[in-house]
């Protein structure tokens, strides 16, 4: 196979398609993109209109007069209670919650997946099955028992408490991701490592974990998005001094009988989602390219 014509040019990944088919591809993608972008367009347009314009009710119309005031208000002076300091207050709290709530679940998920797929201790699959069942329980149902449990161990209304709660709720998905990933790694590799004298943790730390970069990135993206946008758990378990940004966001957006400033609401939502969005954009390449190495495939 050496010196053949194949070595002259990098081979095309896919057979080159005929013109019409190519047009079809772009047509489909652009139509889909329009469908996906429509709500964002409305959000952006609404966020730069004045409330008088919004009351007229033409949601698709371009603003007659563009104003950036809603954005400034959302960040610095929207009312969230007695305080009217915008949504910026909870930013660092969210960061402090997100970091441990991403790192620890990933580590535990990896450990669980590793143990379940290679060591297969007896009865572990029953545990896994119950864990997956747990993924279907709505969060609110577990609220009261968890409050009592955390209160008993003294972690209610604290940063470690909210991190523990996030670990509990993310364990099913994290374990699922890693278990399936490790199932795709050949058993021979593992057996060879055992023969070489590797113990449980040695094989994990020195062999499996380094090989898991692709799936770690997938898990990180899912977890960061989930925890950053979490509202109800942070509200109940984090304690007053650690309330995440979503609490401020919800205070700005939601109200029962108060007036609604839709332009500020849209601006606030976009601002809050900038963190996960940035992470997608930046690691989007790894997300796909990394997994190309075989993360989620069978």
């Amino acid at each position: 196979m050496t010196g053949g014509t194949l070595a002259v040019r990098p081979p095309l990944r896919r057979p080159y398609r005929l013109r019409p088919a190519r047009v079809g591809v772009y047509a489909f993608l652009l139509t889909a993109a329009l469908f996906f972008l429509l709500p964002l367009y409305i959000m952006l347009v609404t966020s730069v209109k004045s409330m008088d314009e919004i009351r007229m009710g033409n949601i698709f119309a371009f603003p007659i007069q563009v104003t950036l005031e809603p954005w400034v208000t959302a960040w610095t002076s929207a009312c969230t209670g007695v305080a009217c300091d915008g949504i910026r207050g909870g930013f660092w709290n969210s960061v402090l919650i997100v970091i441990p709530s991403t790192v620890l679940p990933i580590l535990l998920g990896a450990l669980n997946g590793y143990a379940l797929s290679f060591w297969k201790p007896r009865g572990a699959n029953v545990l896994f099955a119950i864990l997956m069942m747990g993924a279907f329980i709505p969060v609110q149902v577990m609220m009261y028992p968890l409050v009592r449990i955390l209160a008993t161990i003294g972690l209610f209304s604290s940063l470690p408490g909210i991190v523990l709660v996030h670990i509990i709720f993310s364990m099913p998905v994290m374990t699922l991701l890693f278990r399936n990933y490790y199932l795709s790694i050949p058993q021979e590799l593992f057996k060879a490592a055992r023969i070489d004298g590797g113990g449980f943790f040695r094989i994990f730390l020195q062999l499996m974990l380094p090989m898991s970069t692709p799936i770690i990135i997938v898990a990180a993206i899912m977890q960061v998005t989930g925890v950053w946008n979490d509202y109800i758990l942070g509200l109940v378990f984090a304690g007053r001094d650690n309330l995440p940004m979503t609490v401020q966001l919800n205070n700005v957006i939601n109200t029962t009988t108060g007036t609604r400033l839709y332009n500020v609401n849209m601006a606030a939502t976009i601002l809050t989602s900038l963190v996960p969005l940035t992470i997608y954009f930046v690691s989007g390449r790894w997300f796909v390219r990394g997994i190309a190495a075989g993360a989620v495939k069978g």
């Binding site: 990944r13 993608l29 996906f36 959000m43 199932l183 050949p186 058993q187 939502t269 969005l277 989620v296």
Partner: protein, 322 residues
Amino acid sequence: MCRWKKYKRTLLQPSRIETALRTVMTLKPKQLFRQLVSWAALLPLASTVLVAYLGTVLWSLKISFTNSRTFPSDQYVGWAQYQRLFDNDRWLLSLQNLALYGVLFVAACMVLGFLLAVFIDQKVMAEGALRTVFLYPYAMSFVATGLVWQWMLNPGNGIQQAVRQMGYPDFTFDWIIDQDMVIYTIVIATVWQASGLVMALLLAGLRGIDEEIWKAARIDGIPTWRVYVSIVLPMLSPTLITVFVLLFTAVVKVFDSVVSMTQGGPGTASEVPAKFIMEHLFGRANIALASAGSIVLLLTVLLLVLPFMLVRNRSTLARVEK
């Protein structure tokens, strides 16, 4: 194809339990220690499962047989809450809606996600931008995006109005105010939010497929669509199953979208179980009824998922032990 023969061989191998038993009975002390270590490492998992998950389910079960209001009480009332539950039109409708919604949502997400992944994989320009466009809905809080969807689907000043103003005075798109069609609007909005993630996961799986397959197919003269259906899809099946499980959990817990788009309306037409349970937990101060609802929901899910999990376990293990 020869893959089927391989699978057949693995299916006929001795069961895992037999192998495990044989292994344990012939273990040397050092190996036994290793097994214990792996069990110790699973301690966080085991304790979470037992205390948090199993514990909660058992606690909910207990509460559902009492007449607890805001706080748990010990007054036993037998099946009364379950009777009340199944006498309740709203609850029955919510289960119906969940079934309809579930099927449509999962199917639409998987089809759309797959198509998006396949088409993006065709070496298109601006792939990064397109990927972000399809993924951004996942990053946004549904409280605001749900409101936007409500505005868009509202016949008064949404899409219907806009198309009519463009010169089609008879165009109607008022599903959101129609008792029978409103659940489809929830499908549309949630598919919008979730397909991006499906696309990303499937794209990853696609990128992991060996290029040789495409070359071989080309040489053999197999049409592209046939390659996708008969070769690519089977190879993606573990990914597809993971995606399916993730989507299914989203279906059972659907709540935010209903609350922000329709508030369960018009009337109670777009009610879903999670919303019913939530409202009775807090707003209606009736945790007994809410617990009964969540137990029924969990049992339904269990009945549906169990066969799938058994099939998946066997096929994934069959692949590995080849």
